[in-house]
Symmetry: C2
């Protein structure tokens, strides 16, 4: 492919994002580049829809299709269900009007087509007497009409994407899936059709291999796969192997178009691509960006944009816990940035306020926010109490200055004092009726966290399109170590799926890899974490999180083992933790930490249930979009007990 | 059946709940009643398990089995998956140790059996090479051994119960489902096997009718159906028809054992029962209570305990919105009471504190709490601000006195003032960097609601086992008319699925039907609702909710139409609402209200996502356990637009 094509592609991407050209300028540009656009060029429309916002999605598609028409490109392919936007919501079930609107917009879009054929996903009404009223379909639009629609067969029932909840499955042999594209016969496959490949997968989702059936019965020259595939660490490798092996098996090129962008907690990474008939990757679009990607399946000298570190093969092999997060940090960073940006954009918010404590969590959040929505849209508020150290205050201020975000200091002492006095009076009166008063410090400690949240929500009420940010991290979420209506509370929680040790690594990585180097003061990275809510009576200094919990290196290895190896106490007690390689830990101490983890985790279910929206970053998470646990199951014992003990209790 | 049996059953229920008898006394009691226990008696163990708490469930089963042994009853039948407890959680997927423990406890229980055969649900490991590692199984325990296990075939993928997520389906023809019970051949069916009845259901869940297959191939004399069926208004009628029609079709008696109790948002209503071979109901246990229910399928003169009003046939026919909630109030009350009681018990909490505003929502919550956990465990706090009327303060106090709950008044003026002053200073400083300051009253209004929540969470921190209560109702949840970290916040939200007009009806019903009459002051019922957070500039009085929203009668009819008829704006605009029969509403006004509803509903997604745990009461709800909606779908247009307008936009 002529490399000038990618010059053009970049200009179009800019126009699609910012409307920089008039119609006339577009035609001029087309004229200039026409000679380098091959006869059989095809556009992979790697675009970012909004779930349920059909008008937005349709008008976006229109702009992309118009560009293809102007350039004289004969085929443009959009992701699965693009017009409705994935993830789906129960609005599909509750409001039939939404699917009616989707079908009408598809008709309107069809009228736009002249010389370009459009292959695009939507939700189709199903008028026959089936259990489900809709299909997840692909429409082929050409010459002002809907040429045909193709219905998805292999429906998902994944944690986060639940086709089965909404759609009827279409028998694969019942419909002709062939259309002409690039002067060849293209077979259309949808979403995870390739996941049922009998060569590649151990276990098959369905007794029929969709791809094989289409190849054998309908004889396409190549395949077009419209998809919307959630980004996960290990998934890229799986996806590559499946697509490549399907291409080899059937000796057929595969064009794969993926959705890009984030929706609440889910991220789609783009990286649309083409494999030739030998299974070789010959094109790959950018990751985490919209792209008007021009390809030619007959020209295997295509552009292969790099994947961010973390979507690569190496990570797939991780069998041991490691504190070397380096191989995954670029992906982590890009996933969170895209998630914040899209959450704000898609919900209509523009600005964020957050408490800057001078600690790691709020620091990392501030950097991510500045990068995602712009430093002019971020307001950091330092809200020191009497426990807050001078160092913390200075660190917060220095960070804000480095980032160029707005910053103010608002001491909370007066508010704290008046609430504490109110509490003292109230509790001594209540004691007359109620026993079992704790009289521990944490009632008053929490006043600080709740006052801070009250201030942030006040700012969000007062200033237009502003969201307060919850700065809790994943290690603390597992331990329920966050204050309700305090640091847990916010309109969005950017790092709720990043463990503490990974956050340290991410902070260092950002200091090195962001355009502006070393924005995060070294003292923040060197400091041991603590909420600065309470004084440790043993040390007389602010209580460190590790004193209340356990060393973060140990805690994060438990989380890693739970999430990736499904281990419980009995599995872990005899395994040497990475932490133990440098710090000796007695058996009793280790058991105490393990039991504390499972005890606190079991009790954290309520807090998990009210966690603000947060991006899923790791392979597994406790995000309620993927992990379902009744709160009343807090009495679970995660430990193996002896059969004899059970028999003794039963016979007691 | 000898009616004395039910005398005995009541005594046993009391012992099972409170351990009132020594072993010796139990044997004496058995001796006394032995003559009236029929040879073929069977116990339907309508018991209340805790999800995941296997030890608790096993030791509960042990007590019930022991009683059956003592009475010489030869068969006792427990609900589906009793040993694990329904609803299931992802702990099944993440922690294999839990299922191992379940299987071991089953082995231990088996060793207990002597003369009584135990039929009981559990989760079974599946060691073969299947997609899912577990089965939802029933074990038959006898003579100290596991006689057999039977695996569920027809797996559910309902909104709230998702068998497919956890279990492998067992082919129905692959296993012998027959055991001997009451000297006859009993065929075991699990959960919704009857829902696939080809006579009754329009659409079938599976190509095979499980019940028919068992009847035709395995020739049982009667069927035992172990179930765990969530209570819903219309479900009782469906259940009755399905069980009865299956009995008629196959001329086979059916014994149906249901779980009782609540788990987070889901409630199980018990009402276990027996149908004879002619489809006649001959036994029915109590609803919403554990019961050691003794039956004899050969004696059709059984006890039929009444269903609460609201589980009866009449409600199934409701095709119109009505303000006559009377037919459903007993069920509503019992569902919420059971939900509160079980949530507190199963999570280990004992006491509740709530703000008493003198308004309807907090009033109804206080009554329900007093009834569910005991008046000595409820603390009502009146937290007046300067807007709070004297009447409201007096109403709150009177209510507390009537109920006998603890009560204190804590004015929040000082806290409000210090926060407001802080805000004033902060915002005028922020204005230098940020534009678009609203300067509306609601920033300060919300300080009141947030201060109240801070006080309630402080109490919960200070006093052992105390949960603060969120008093939001369903009408307000739909409109997003509640303050984040304010009245929305709490450990439990008892009335989040009850609309405002239904709450008025419930208040009146409780005044009439509770043992203590008229606990709720009439002035609370007569008052028009308002949060008393802001002053209406037009009237100079506290802003009423209906002034900010729309008349509750109108709002609640929209909700009813959305939930039950899936209607949107276009469907509703030309239908006469009940409200319009007495109050004329102009077309413009009606459209404005409808558009306000859908606009506010679309934007309320974030608030729905952080709603505290709450019982599902109505046929449909926005509870996240059953309703899934991406927050970023807030841009959905719930209105039909013209095709020509779409085409115009596309061609623009």
């Amino acid at each position: 492919m002529d490399k000038k094509i990618y010059e053009l592609s970049e200009l179009i991407d800019k126009d699609l994002a910012e409307n920089i050209y008039t119609k006339e300028e577009k035609f001029k540009l087309a004229e200039k580049y026409k000679s380098c656009i091959p006869e059989n060029a095809m556009v992979l429309a790697q675009a970012n829809p909004i779930s349920g916002n059909i008008k937005y999605n349709a008008l976006k598609a229109k702009k992309w299709i118009e560009w293809a028409e102007i350039l004289g490109i004969k085929t443009i392919v959009f992701p699965e269900a693009f017009l409705m936007g994935i993830p789906f919501g129960d609005y599909l079930l509750k409001f039939p009007v939404i699917v009616e609107e989707c079908c009408e917009w598809m008709n309107a879009l069809a009228q736009l087509t002249r010389n370009t054929k459009v292959i695009i996903g939507f939700v189709e009404s199903n008028n026959s007497d089936k259990n489900k009223k809709y299909y997840n379909s692909i429409a082929v639009l050409a010459n002002g009409k809907i040429e045909k629609t193709v219905k998805k067969s292999l429906l998902l029932n994944h944690a986060e994407l639940n086709d089965c909840r909404y759609f009827e499955s279409s028998p694969i042999d019942s419909e002709n899936r062939i259309t002409t594209a690039s002067n060849k016969k293209a077979g259309i496959i949808i979403g995870e059709d390739t996941e049922n490949n009998f060569v590649f997968c151990d276990k098959n989702l369905s007794p029929v291999d969709t791809v094989e059936t289409i190849i054998k019965e309908q004889h396409p020259d190549f395949l077009i796969n419209c998809s919307a595939s959630v980004t996960r660490t290990k998934k890229e490798q799986l996806k590559h192997n499946m697509l490549s092996s399907a291409a080899i098996k059937f000796h057929t090129p595969i064009v794969y178009v993926n959705q890009v962008g984030s929706s609440d907690c889910l991220s789609f990474d783009g990286a649309s691509r083409v494999y030739d008939a030998d299974g070789q990757l010959i094109y790959r679009a950018k990751s985490y960006e919209e792209q008007f990607f021009i390809i030619d399946i007959f020209d295997n000298e295509g552009q292969i944009y790099p994947l961010p570190k973390g979507l690569e093969k190496a990570l797939n092999l991780q069998k041991e816990f490691s504190l070397n997060y380096e191989p995954d940090l670029e992906r982590t960073y890009k996933t969170i940035i895209q998630s914040i940006r899209d959450y704000f954009k898609k919900t209509g918010f523009k600005r964020a306020c957050l408490g800057l404590s001078g600690g790691l969590d709020s620091t990392v959040c501030a950097v991510l926010l500045a990068d995602a929505i712009g430093k002019e849209n971020v307001f950091g508020i330092s809200m020191p109490s009497k426990i807050t150290s001078l160092e913390s205050k200075n660190d917060a201020k220095e960070l804000a200055e480095n980032l160029g975000i707005s910053f103010l200091e608002v001491p909370i002492k007066e508010i704290y004092d008046v609430i504490r006095e109110k509490f003292n009076n109230l509790f001594s009166q209540m004691e007359k009726n109620w026993n079992f008063r704790y009289k521990q410090s944490y009632t008053n400690d929490n006043i600080q966290a709740r006052t801070r949240a009250t201030i942030l929500w006040g700012i969000a009420n007062e200033f237009e399109k502003c969201l307060p940010i919850a700065t809790s991290d994943k290690s603390e979420a597992y331990m329920g170590y966050a204050t309700i209506n305090g640091d847990m509370s916010g309109g969005y929680a950017p790092i709720a799926d990043v463990t503490k040790t990974k956050l340290f690594a991410l902070a260092k990585w950002m200091n090195k890899n962001r355009e502006q180097k070393n924005s995060i003061p070294q003292s923040i990275i060197d400091k041991r974490p603590g909420a600065e809510l309470a004084i440790n009576p043993k040390t007389g200094k602010p209580l460190l999180a590790e004193e209340a919990l356990m060393p973060y290196e140990f805690l994060d290895e438990i989380i890693w083992r739970v999430e990736n190896l499904n281990q419980s106490i009995n599995d872990m007690i005899n395994i040497e933790f990475l932490y133990e390689k440098t710090e000796p830990v007695s058996k009793e101490q280790k058991l105490e930490w393990l039991e504390k983890f499972f005890h606190r985790m079991a009790a954290a279910g309520y807090k998990w249930s009210i966690l603000p929206p947060a991006p899923i970053v790791d392979e597994h998470s406790i995000n309620s979009a993927e992990y379902h646990q009744p709160i009343i199951s807090s009495g679970i014992n995660y430990k193996k007990t002896h059969l004899e003990d059970k028999i003794a209790l039963i016979n007691d």
